[in-house]
Symmetry: C2
Subunit: 286 residues, 2 copies
């Protein structure tokens, strides 16, 4: 038994899937959920994802030995502020946010004496769906979870969080926080911006109806991430603003160069870029 | 029986799938293939996609009543130049290129008296795979095929090409050529540029290895089209250059505005764009 009482604040796709995986592995005695939407919380109980819930964080974290903050990044600070005064002295706290610098800053400001037992984490898993209804216990299997411990992080807390994620079938990797935010800006945050920006642009075009009518499979795959939760992505943009703006500017320059090459029918430049991209992309297996 | 002798020039994913679908429907007596890669042509015979082949276009189009040009856009002009002097007088000619303005110009320059029996066409189907090995008879089922007839197009030729595609299970739509090139620049050509440009940029970053290691499912879907045939896409860029450059410039401006909104933490602008994109994207079913 890893935990006696696991508290999941935010029982959505990630929080719900984590609870399911840990229950399946018989890793905790009791799972307490916390959230704002009663229908989602009732559904979570009905599905057996959590044992019970409270809409009050103060109530929910009572006697918890592990607290998982699975809330949007913009809500992280206020959640920490609320729970800090009432957290048990030995409780371990972790989160699942897609940006880690901002979360560690929040922890520094608001978690007080619990700071060293806070382990910032980010499971590289998910989909454009959300809510406990979309949760599955296999979500993290063979996926990577990045932890970004600091020199102040309690070793035992770090090991507990690592063990928790390994129990879900994930591979856990430690990473420097700045490095995490750079890599994620490149592989996740920038692509989401491109997909949102493209679909928004096309939706504003006069030929909107035909555009969507004649879109093929490639377009569907390419724009799938534009169906992701706008509120969540708004928060990610602001939480990882600096790295994301750097990445957007670099991409703007790259696109400008490609546009120029096409304008000038510069076959060599076009071919080099396309071949290089294809070679890199083919290294993935689908 | 639609055709006595169907000649497919370019027995790849599209040409091969068309041949398969027409054979399955018993729509032609004989299918003659033409191409440059002997291994691909032999494979096509072995798979029963074509009856026989020639590597010489002049030989291949002999006595054909339907000729399908399924060659890269950059090769279209030279293919027309080669076959024009030897095409049977009543042969119908069509193509499957992703840009239509350039192909109609090629036809005007090189097809001479056969020009009115040339029907420009574009099946909105395919994948990032290529070669006859990837061909399947169901590729066009419930997909759209756009034809861009001109005032000079022979009515019977148009009807024959329409019937051919309907036989494969596709829905055939007529469209103005300029309109086709605009809509396709938006829904297909621009997204491919974004995917190629992104993967090329990331592949040049110092953290390249980690970037691809920590990429999640969303990134895979988003960049799948960057595995498309670089040569084919080089040709599409140049064939639809004007529309594509317009679209790239509009997107550059859109991206600039989003970057500015993120830089300024302009929540309202960010939220509006994301919600609008999600709403438009959700209209698709996956």
């Amino acid at each position: 038994m890893l935990f006696k009482r696991l508290c999941i604040i935010g029982v959505g796709l990630i929080g719900g899937s984590l609870a399911r995986a840990l229950r399946d592995a018989n890793a905790c005695e009791e799972v307490v959920g916390c959230g704002r939407q009663l229908d989602n919380l009732n559904k979570a109980v009905e599905l057996g994802v959590i044992d019970r819930y409270s809409t009050d964080m103060v109530e929910a974290v009572k006697d918890a030995d592990m607290v998982v903050l699975a809330v949007p990044l913009g809500t992280m600070a206020s959640a920490m502020q609320k729970i800090a005064p009432v957290l048990p002295d030995d409780a371990i706290i972790t989160d699942v946010g897609s940006a880690k610098g901002s979360v560690l800053q929040d922890a520094q400001h608001y978690l007080g004496k619990h700071q060293s037992r806070f382990v910032a984490g980010h499971p590289i898993a998910g989909s454009e769906q959300h809510g406990v209804i979309a949760s599955v216990s296999s979500l993290f299997q063979q996926r990577r979870v990045i932890l970004t411990p600091t020199p102040d992080t309690d070793t035992q807390a770090l090991e507990s969080v690592r063990q928790m994620w390994e129990t879900t079938g994930a591979e856990v990797v430690d990473m420097n926080v700045q490095h995490h935010d750079e890599v994620l800006a490149a592989t996740s945050h920038l692509p989401h911006m491109l997909a949102y920006a493209l679909v928004d642009m096309l939706a504003h075009m006069e030929t909107r109806r035909e555009i969507f009518r004649f879109a093929a499979g490639g377009f569907r795959d390419f724009t799938r991430i534009a169906s992701s939760d706008p509120k969540m992505w708004h928060d990610i943009c602001l939480s990882n603003r600096e790295e994301l703006v750097n990445m957007l500017e670099a991409f703007g320059q790259q696109l400008h160069n490609l546009t120029q090459a096409i304008r000038e029918s510069d076959s060599e430049k076009i071919n080099t870029l396309f071949y290089n991209a294809k070679t890199a992309r083919d290294e993935f297996t689908d």
